[in-house]
Symmetry: C2
Subunit: 118 residues, 2 copies
């Protein structure tokens, strides 16, 4: 993409023991907040609700790449990925906003450096 | 989400030496094809084009989670992630469809098992 040379950080996070059960609007708002905290520009936000109590799939497309959230409220689990490119982006801060917003008591994160240049 | 117990596979793939420069419609079609090959159900597809030659960010939200594609045509690079849950899903086949569609000569993949249940 034109906004960067493709040097990026991809955070793969498993959130367990999430406190609350967020609605689709809450998750969309949380994606926007996470992007803001991560100094990223939101291009669009999309979400799907899997019926009553069935969880939510949501993605923010960013100028810096994307953030996704998939929730399984029945397991108090959420699968997150935060992929941000560009020197200004702060993916860890974005993830922190999501962890706090979901009220997760257990978090495990894998960090994968990604780079367009060989 | 209600479609699975959250047992999933997350493929993080770097595609280099991509042959072609796909347009936004091509990438959207490729996401749908990848989902089909991966035996996943597309809920919606979203894409953003970063101006002439600037690459594309695109995401398919699936009943089984998501597929994303971010392209940097100037580096002939694409960053892919395929996250699929559920026993029927075939994320490797979805990724293979994307690799072929992008004409990538070099592919590196990291496979991350994800699971809602502890």
């Amino acid at each position: 993409m034109s906004t960067s040379d493709g040097r990026g950080m991809h955070l793969i996070a498993d959130l367990r023991a999430c406190r609350g059960s967020l609605g689709v609007k809450d998750v969309e708002d949380l994606l926007r907040k996470a992007a803001r905290e991560g100094r990223a520009k939101v291009l669009s936000v999309h979400a799907h609700e899997f019926g009553a109590g069935g969880g939510i799939a949501a993605v923010a497309i960013l100028a810096e790449s994307h953030i996704s959230v998939h929730t399984w409220p029945e397991y108090r689990y959420a699968a997150i990925d935060v992929f941000m490119c560009g020197p200004e982006a702060a993916p860890e801060l974005a993830l922190q906003a999501i962890v706090e917003g979901m009220g997760a008591l257990e978090v495990s994160v894998q960090r994968i450096a990604r780079q367009a240049m060989p």
